[in-house]
């Protein structure tokens, strides 16, 4: 493939490009889905192709093909140049890139146990075992399990002399149970909703999660939620568990720090950001003094970890929020010079057929000096909200609203009864300013949660990103929009 990539790069330069890169991507995935004691779906997919990105006439052009022949690659390169030149007349300034030393590297995957070596029959049986345990534990109408494994190989070749081969293995799994009584439907999931946990790891992740050991509780809690009281409306102190806090970080911090979004290039689709460039280095307060957030592609096993991004820039660790003060963005070679920096290494594409965009790496709320147990004990009245069900945020990432599967009432420092249909909402900097306790002191509390379906761009691209978090408390948060919508009447 290195030869085909070089042919594409050379053809682009010969056609008049001032810069060119070619990315070969080959992805193999296998998934198992079970539902109510049966195998609902088993798939084995492969996908490969090459995308050619050029700067021609000062403008970007991109063409991709799955036909891996010398002539098809040369055609794709010339097409990319034609496309770039067609858009050039609208430019006010030609595209310029921050400097980058060429790199030659070979980066193997880091999985300890290759999940593709685990027989399919064993993967199926794991989920069916969970299904049986859920069925025995409680009356639920729907029992589901999902296990996904993925291997990606990528070769990046640029006209600046870089040639980087990277391989990654990803594994994800989860179970959920849904209970219904004719007037209400409730769901519980483990270890997280929307497919569970996913990481840049191997079969060792599946073993650590111990799905069978949690299956019965998942079913019992789903069933118990049917008769739980409705979550009340009002302002409450809330503690968010890891999976929910991961999504809160994703939506209210991860997206607004994407510099392409900040600069307006996503305005027509996903929106812009309240974290405008004038706020950088101005002392802008994003959150309380205990809020420290990093963008870190170097963490072991994170779903947003990598050695090099899709421009050949090394993965890095950057402070995004330092003691509550906004301090950094996710950037690319094109956008970083606008704020006087070199690329922070966050350009990634969804496979071979898409152009790289600025994507989250692992966006992490650093651990605090509490344990979750201590935070609960310190809370006079409030709720522990667990496991996301719904999410929404405005197009500048200020007004958000989330729903979770369950809320546990806290009275005088002790966890109490379950409530159903909880929601909370707020305005991003006000919400993070109300954060007064972050756990992570106890072993295992701080964990990187994978988000495998982060959508962005046109054509739509899906990225796999991560969020390291430990449960945290937020004071006096508006709750219960669902209740106000008649959720308490039925």
């Amino acid at each position: 493939m290195d030869k085909l990539c070089r042919i594409a790069v050379d053809a682009a330069i010969n056609a008049g490009a001032s810069y060119a890169d070619a990315r070969f991507v080959s992805r193999r995935e296998e998934s198992v889905e079970t539902k109510n004691g049966s195998v609902d779906g088993v798939t084995s997919s492969t996908d490969r192709g090459i995308g050619v990105r050029v700067i021609a006439g000062g403008a970007w052009g991109f063409a991709a093909t799955s036909e891996l022949t010398e002539s098809a690659l040369a055609d794709a390169a010339r097409k990319a140049v034609e496309i770039g030149k067609a858009g050039a007349p609208t430019l006010e300034e030609p595209v310029t890139l921050s400097c980058l030393d060429p790199v030659t590297d070979h980066v193997p995957h880091t999985a300890k146990q290759d999940p593709f070596e685990v027989p399919l029959a064993k993967r199926v049986e794991l989920l069916l075992d969970c299904d049986r345990r859920m069925a025995e534990a409680a009356d639920v109408v729907l029992r589901q399990g999902l296990l996904l494994i993925s291997r990606q190989e990528q070769l990046f070749v640029s006209s600046e002399g870089s040639e980087i081969y990277q391989e990654r293995i990803e594994t994800g799994t989860g179970i959920e149970a849904t209970a219904a009584d004719g007037s209400e439907t409730q769901r519980r999931s483990y270890p997280a909703s929307h497919g569970g946990q996913m990481a840049c790891r191997g079969w060792e992740l599946v073993e650590e999660l111990d799905l069978p050991g949690h299956a019965a509780d998942v079913a019992r809690e789903a069933n118990a939620l049917l008769s739980a009281p409705h979550f009340p409306a009002g302002c409450f102190d809330i503690i968010l568990d890891g999976p929910q806090l991961a999504l809160q970080v994703h939506e209210s911090c991860g997206h607004p720090i994407e510099l392409d979004r900040v600069l307006g290039t996503e305005a027509g689709f996903a929106g812009t950001s309240f974290l405008t460039v004038d706020k950088l280095n101005s002392g802008y307060r994003y959150g309380s003094e205990i809020v420290n957030i990093t963008a870190d592609a170097t963490l072991d096993g994170g779903l947003g970890s990598f050695a090099y991004d899709d421009e050949g820039v090394p993965g890095q660790r950057t402070m995004i929020v330092d003691k509550g003060i906004f301090s950094g963005y996710l950037t690319s070679r094109e956008t970083a010079p606008i704020i006087g920096q070199a690329s922070q290494g966050a350009m990634r594409a969804d496979g071979w057929a898409r152009i790289p965009l600025i994507r989250m790496t692992n966006i992490n709320l650093l651990p605090g000096d509490w344990t979750l147990e201590e935070i609960i004990a310190d809370t006079d009245y409030g709720f522990l909200l667990c496991t996301n069900t719904s999410w929404s945020i405005d197009d500048r990432r200020l007004n958000f609203q989330f729903g979770t599967e369950v809320a546990f009432e806290i009275v005088k420092g002790e966890l109490g009864q379950m409530y159903r249909n909880p929601t909370y909402n707020g305005i991003t900097p006000e919400f993070w300013a109300s954060c007064d306790a972050i756990s992570g002191k106890a072993p295992g509390e701080w964990r990187i949660w994978g988000v495998p379906n982060c959508g962005k761009g046109e054509p739509m691209q899906t990225a796999r990103v991560g969020h390291g978090v430990a449960p945290a408390r937020f004071r006096s948060v508006q709750c219960g929009a669902m209740t106000q919508q008649g959720g308490g009447d039925q």
């Binding site: 084995s44 063409a63 067609a86 849904t178 219904a180 929404s392």
Partner: protein, 444 residues
């Protein structure tokens, strides 16, 4: 893009190579191109050519799926063998009965790609974008959006005799116009790129941006709201995904469970799905190759029918396959992807003139279902939210979050637009809704 004969030959090669009891081949092939602009300049310009092959192998009640995009003869044989291997190593799905067989009402596709769309090149896309950018600059605005074209083919063949193939073209443009503290949006979709009027949508978006300048605050609460067609399409699409299909019904995760034949919203509302209606993104058959039937889902407010695929039809006594399958495996269900809502007799201006105090919403942003069984949806307004007083638009509003039951909203409609627009999977008119719940506000 591959020719029809090439695509169909791939399908036959896979079927010939398969040793499974039953085999299905689904092929997507296409050319797609997109020019994206922002800050009054083109910043992304891409094209893609691909062909994907998806094979479903059935061994008894064991089902396996393999997919790939290498269409060489050896790879196709390997794909058929891989699907069979996956099926054999799986466990039976006791509720699986069979792949669909050809039916008497199998209809040949009437959809043909429009040559002008197929031939559209980067220079033509750039020209359309320049038209929109000129309008932005003339009004002191910043434009962002996209102009895209596609030529795609879908082919389904199975070992029971299904042979379905169609090609279509598609073109679409969106434009967001941004002013200092306001914005406006418009879009257009058509199979024929010459029907995309870049000037017209740019002028609509610019007018909205200028007229909503200096937006004021509005207290959250229940308001009379005029939802323009894009907002109604969004609501309709979410209702379709979560509630209006047979699997959600069977699994009791939809409001429809236990309520077939009942009045579920206002008598003035009818919703149906029709893959043959030229106002939508036509697709004459589903991803199992079965001819799509029109399904009248809600008729005069009464829940009357739901879309089915071969799996959900076989597990429910008396149910018939309506041709709404998604690509296998599909754990979500046969969602309606060509939704329509009835029109009424009012213009948007009629609705505004008849409103003493209310809110005009151009479109929603980031909608998400909070509670599918109660059809409670949340989301934000975006790109043109206006206050109406005494029958007139009096200015722009800062954006609002709604948390609202869709069925409740559809029970409180008292005026319906006389025409509609297409937004992806749904076609709908404007609606005036009383008592629409805005649960919070944002800062712009």
């Amino acid at each position: 893009m591959m020719r029809r004969e090439q695509v169909q030959d791939i399908a036959e090669q896979v079927l010939a190579a398969s040793a499974a009891d039953q085999t299905e081949v689904l092929i997507f092939a296409g050319d797609e191109a997109l020019t994206r602009f922002a800050n009054n300049t083109i910043h992304q310009n891409v094209a893609e050519t691909d062909a994907g092959v998806r094979v479903r192998a059935v061994v008894g009640k064991r089902v396996g799926v393999a997919s790939g995009n290498d269409t060489s003869p050896d790879s196709l044989k390997d794909l058929a063998a891989r699907a069979l291997e996956v099926a054999r190593n799986s466990e039976p799905n006791e509720e699986f009965v069979s792949l669909p067989a050809p039916s008497a009402d199998q209809r040949e596709s009437v959809v043909q790609p429009v040559q002008a769309t197929v031939d559209c090149d980067p220079a033509q896309r750039a020209e359309a974008v320049r038209t929109m950018l000129d309008i932005a600059r003339a009004n002191g605005l910043q434009a962002a959006g996209r102009f895209a074209t596609a030529h795609t083919a879908v082919c389904v063949a199975n070992s029971l005799g299904i042979r379905s193939y169609f090609e279509r073209s598609g073109a679409g443009a969106t434009v967001l116009m941004q002013a200092a503290d306001s914005s406006g949006f418009a879009q257009a979709e058509s199979e024929d790129v010459t029907q995309i009027n870049a000037r017209e949508i740019a002028e609509v978006a610019a007018r909205k941006a200028l007229e909503s300048a200096g937006p004021r605050d509005l207290e959250p609460g229940a308001y009379t709201v005029i939802l323009e067609p894009l907002a109604v399409c969004d609501m309709l699409y979410m209702l379709g995904i979560y509630d209006l299909h047979s699997l959600a019904h069977q699994e009791q995760r939809s409001f429809t469970s236990g309520h077939m034949g009942e009045q579920v919203c206002g008598e003035n509302i009818s919703i149906w799905d029709d893959g043959w209606d030229p106002r939508g993104n036509r697709m004459p058959f589903d991803y199992e190759g079965v001819t799509r039937q029109r399904v009248d889902i809600i008729t005069n407010g009464i829940l009357t029918a739901l879309p089915y695929d071969s799996f959900t039809a076989a597990r429910e006594e008396g149910a018939a396959n309506t041709g709404h399958a998604l690509p296998a495996p599909n754990s979500w269900g046969p969602v309606p992807s060509h939704l329509f809502m009835n029109t009424g007799e009012h213009s948007l201006q009629d609705m505004i003139a008849a409103t003493e105090r209310g809110v005009l919403v151009t479109r929603f942003h980031y909608t998400n279902m909070v509670h599918p069984v109660r059809t409670v949806l949340t989301g934000m307004t975006r790109d043109g939210t206006f206050l109406i007083e005494n029958g007139q638009i009096v200015g722009g509003l800062k954006n609002m979050r709604f948390t609202q039951s869709i069925l409740e909203a559809l029970s409180n409609v008292d005026m319906i637009g006389r025409d509609g627009v297409l937004d992806g999977h749904a076609w709908a008119p404007a609606l005036r809704v009383n008592g629409f719940n805005f649960s919070s506000a944002t800062q712009f």
